[in-house]
């Protein structure tokens, strides 16, 4: 990918996020998702908070359908791909799947809190934490006691 655009979404509004760090010159877009706005009925409080986050980022702000807006933005910039950051949202995965039909999508990850790729039982927090704790503390917790 030589000339990507960045798709910035609501799970990574960090000006030091990996997408901005790795592609400091790439045009970046935020889309107010009409679908989510209708579904979630977000209050003005939440919209203002997000907007305040956005104006600190080097992003173009638009409103509409996410896939259509991202592809339009990509065309405007003659992009050869889309870079974004990971999100656990099922809607994010849906959007990526559709975008990939038009352009390659690279999904970057933020630094993990628990840097462990093995299986973790998520049935209860206690089971998760039994495994995750050592990684969360980078192995330091027991050393300090």
């Amino acid at each position: 990918m030589i000339r990507p655009i960045l798709w910035v979404h609501g799970d990574c509004l960090d000006p030091q996020g990996p997408h901005f760090k790795n592609h400091p010159q790439a045009p970046a877009l935020w889309v107010w998702d009409e679908r989510l706005l209708a579904e979630w009925q977000l209050s003005l409080k939440r919209l203002v908070f997000i907007y305040e986050c956005l104006v600190e980022l080097p992003v173009v702000i638009r409103r509409g359908g996410v896939v259509a807006e991202v592809l339009t933005f990509a065309t405007e910039h003659q992009a050869d791909g889309i870079v974004t950051t990971a999100s656990p949202s099922p809607l994010f995965r849906q959007y990526v799947k559709v975008l990939e039909q038009s352009l390659p999508v690279t999904i970057l990850s933020v630094e993990p809190f628990v840097d462990y790729d093995g299986h973790i039982d998520l049935a209860r927090f206690s089971r998760y934490w039994r495994v995750a704790q050592a990684y969360a503390f980078k192995g330091d917790l027991n050393d300090s006691k």
Partner: protein, 280 residues
């Protein structure tokens, strides 16, 4: 070509006015905005106020030292690793053990979200309240919306939710428990109400915490009594409540369990136990 929205504003009032104009439906529902500011700069100010040693011992009290970082973590303005590294650079791992554990809750909810997707809106397990899902009503009661139940604590929490877009974690739990176990509201309706207003509203943290309270993601329902609420609020609401001494939360946990869950043959409720705080 789509129209670019404004990025430059003279001040916060200018930005708020513009957002209100661009999202008239939201402004018409409720034109109030939170004093909590968005953005990385505001996040770093909040991070610098963090007192991890006091957090461990006071966080369950409404006037305790909580981080108020959740809105910034919610939107990835700060990520968990950054916050963890920040505290570990300033305290020993043992001193910030509790705080890092709470960050772990956020990571846990996100991992579950990745696994469950829209399933976070469905009961993960059967209710342990003695009631079926059909027992619970779908509509948020009007007196909750308007903050006119007469219970000072719940009315204040309702107002704070709508005005500040933020509630202390313990207040979220009390309000959720009141709605589900005293008012028999479906947890999904309460969760949606919270998500509309909470600045840090995250579907996974929010919904699975509501499920924990309801008992559809946990072994027992969470409930509380007046004594518990009075203790952790330092009597702030009880002192001025006209229902003091005879409110719906009055009584021992055994009495309340009997009244709230009469169909339960065994005392399965989990009184007064607080889950690991899922929001800071």
């Amino acid at each position: 070509m789509s129209k670019d929205m404004r990025r430059d504003f003279t001040d916060r009032a200018d930005l708020i006015r513009y957002v209100g104009e661009q999202f008239p439906e939201a402004a018409a529902r409720d034109g109030r905005v939170s004093p909590i500011r968005g953005g990385r700069r505001a996040a770093e100010v909040q991070l610098n106020r963090l007192e991890t040693h006091r957090y461990a011992t006071t966080r369950n009290f409404l006037n305790g030292s909580v981080s108020r970082l959740s809105p910034y973590i919610r939107y990835g303005v700060l990520n968990l690793a950054q916050v963890r590294d920040w505290v570990l650079a300033r305290a020993t791992p043992h001193q910030c053990e509790k705080f890092v554990n709470e960050l772990g809750w956020r990571d846990y909810w996100q991992r579950l979200y990745l696994k469950l997707g829209q399933g976070i809106w469905e009961d993960r397990e059967p209710y342990k309240t003695g009631y079926s899902p059909q027992h619970y009503q779908d509509t948020l009661p009007e007196d909750i919306q308007s903050g006119t139940t007469g219970l000072v604590c719940m009315d204040v929490f309702s107002q704070e939710l709508k005005i500040q877009g933020y509630l202390h974690n313990h207040a979220r739990m009390w309000l959720a428990a009141y709605l589900v176990h005293w008012r028999h509201l479906r947890w999904q309706t309460g969760a949606k109400w919270f998500l509309e207003h909470l600045i840090d509203g995250d579907p996974a943290s929010n919904n699975l915490s509501w499920q924990w309270v309801a008992s559809t993601f946990g072994a027992k329902p969470y409930f509380f009594n007046r004594e518990n609420l009075e203790r952790y609020t330092a009597g702030l609401y009880c002192r001025r409540c006209p229902l003091y001494g005879h409110c719906a939360f009055e009584g021992s946990y055994d009495d309340l369990a009997h009244n709230l869950f009469p169909r339960n043959e065994s005392p399965t409720a989990q009184p007064g136990r607080k889950p690991k705080a899922k929001r800071r």
